[in-house]
Symmetry: C2
Subunit: 344 residues, 2 copies
Amino acid sequence: MAKGTSKSGEITINDIAKELNIAASTVSRALNNSTKISEATKQKVRKVAEELGYEINLVASSLSKNKTNLIGVVIPNINSQFFAHALSGIQEEAKAAGYNVIISQTNESYEQEVEVMKVMNSARVDGLIVSLTMETKSTDHFNALVRKSVPIVMFDRVNFSVPGPKIVVDNYEASFKATQHLIGNGCKRIAHLAGNLSCKVFEDRAEGFKEALNKNILPLLPQFLLACDLNEKDTREAMKLWMSLDERPDGIVVASASSGLMIASIARSYGVTIPGDLAIISLGNERCNELMIPSISAVDMPGSEMGKAAAINLIETIKTGHIEDRIILKPIQLLMRNSTFKMA
Amino acid sequence: MAKGTSKSGEITINDIAKELNIAASTVSRALNNSTKISEATKQKVRKVAEELGYEINLVASSLSKNKTNLIGVVIPNINSQFFAHALSGIQEEAKAAGYNVIISQTNESYEQEVEVMKVMNSARVDGLIVSLTMETKSTDHFNALVRKSVPIVMFDRVNFSVPGPKIVVDNYEASFKATQHLIGNGCKRIAHLAGNLSCKVFEDRAEGFKEALNKNILPLLPQFLLACDLNEKDTREAMKLWMSLDERPDGIVVASASSGLMIASIARSYGVTIPGDLAIISLGNERCNELMIPSISAVDMPGSEMGKAAAINLIETIKTGHIEDRIILKPIQLLMRNSTFKMA
DNA sequence: TAAACCAATGCAAACGCTTGCACAAAATAA
DNA sequence: TTATTTTGTGCAAGCGTTTGCATTGGTTTA
């Protein structure tokens, strides 16, 4: 039946055209449900397409339409629960809107982020969803995309010098509330394990922490505010320092979920009881937090929600072609669990 | 300077060609470092390309070469730690080899898996990495790809009726060892919370469990082998049943990490102490397992390793064009933790 | 010095789809 | 009936690269 198949062995619209003795353009229009084609022809075309097992070649279509239906996602890593949820949310929304998702992780490396931008550029993505590395200061590597008016949506780790929608949470508020919660539960010597302060997210969290202490006329001891990369090594060192003090902290606000869990675990190895001797709350929530004993209080950052919002806003921007600098603030949630109830 | 830019506003090799008064084909060959082009010309071309900010259009290149440098990844979901690690491993290897990764989740739905295959087909991926849904029985939806000799590598949830490399662990062994470990620690009434038994992975795990009991002349009570979807609801129901028995199990082998964590948490709500009253070991390890108190024993399934192996094997298959039915067995690791030491 | 060869480049077709424009036939208006 | 519009299709160019096959001028061989 199918005789005129292409060189590559794929069925093309030409095969369908030949089979029906009509023009390829008619087939194309029929498959795209153009109003200019009669219902009868559409039926015939669809039937033959089905029979031959035709599947559109999106590469050719993309080239011709100058539109790939591809969304690029660039995140620091896939392994963190927050980003995995975000990615999942993005993918769901993209799929629903007929977009494919092409993904690359930067491993928190600025250099890799720069490289990835070139790849996304070459792939001619219709739009980009990005969460920056902790290292990223300059955004020059976005210029090529920006100049071409490729929509870029940033979430969580954003930078306002790149135009486009931003999906964020109020990190200042999150940290403020978390600290306030510790204070409300009787903590007097509260420490904060911060991330890289040159990254806005962590700067805001540190600020919220400081402000809460300030509002409550509690002292901020310099050694009680430690900035680090929040990996296991740094976390361990911070705890070592704090545990070596005569006046140990009686409460810690941790800037990431994973570090928070580590701290709970490390604390035990120092014979410290939670929450009795030490209350812990983390900025960022993982499923673990609720399963641990004691369960670990946290401020939940809605990863999936943020991912979905990013995708929805990106797709809208792609469709309207209108790049807006709107900021979408996603609500956070204080999850009070056993690690912070000294009275319990 | 750049005057002859294309309709789409992008810099093309034609722009470079015009600038240098040479043919586009020469530019193409120069940029691809063909031996037929003089070093002098290559230099000039590279210089102008750089100046104009040229980035190759992979869409056009793909169409022309009939090769997309795209790897499709199809997994049940991104949120599970195992699959997130696998995806991460895949992406790293793909990037290193110059491939892009396009990803779609099936949400454990066979129907969605079928749909996704069409998309991957249309996207003309050079190869596919797949982990099947629990529901998947037929593999007819792979036929279109198989017929076109598109390499397909399956990992973890595999089906041998689709040709190509398979990356797996020995689930029978994992479960056997886990059960054996419980028995070695004095458990007499061991239960198994299994997954969907029509899925080979879970069937093997159930078999390993049964065989271990058998080898040790321990009885297999019918109500002690429960198959379910391993979600929260099912896990809770299974525990409800077990906890209602006169003779409760004194050890449980759980077919997934997440269910294992849930069971530990649920057990406590029944006032059961771990490991005293009940030992728990899960097939699959998450970071949580080690942080919980007590820490939860597990058999580690190396997600990242499997993902990397999948990518490496896929890329090799793409390059050689030779689809082999090899099976790559990744080693598992029994992580003995506090949830299984009754004597401790 | 003519014949043969090689190195470097150009020409043009091809990849499979989309789309503006032209065109014929059919339907409507005058 | 003729003029005009509408409807459905076809033609062919174009998207940006790649690549087989000339072509050119220069170098080697006989």
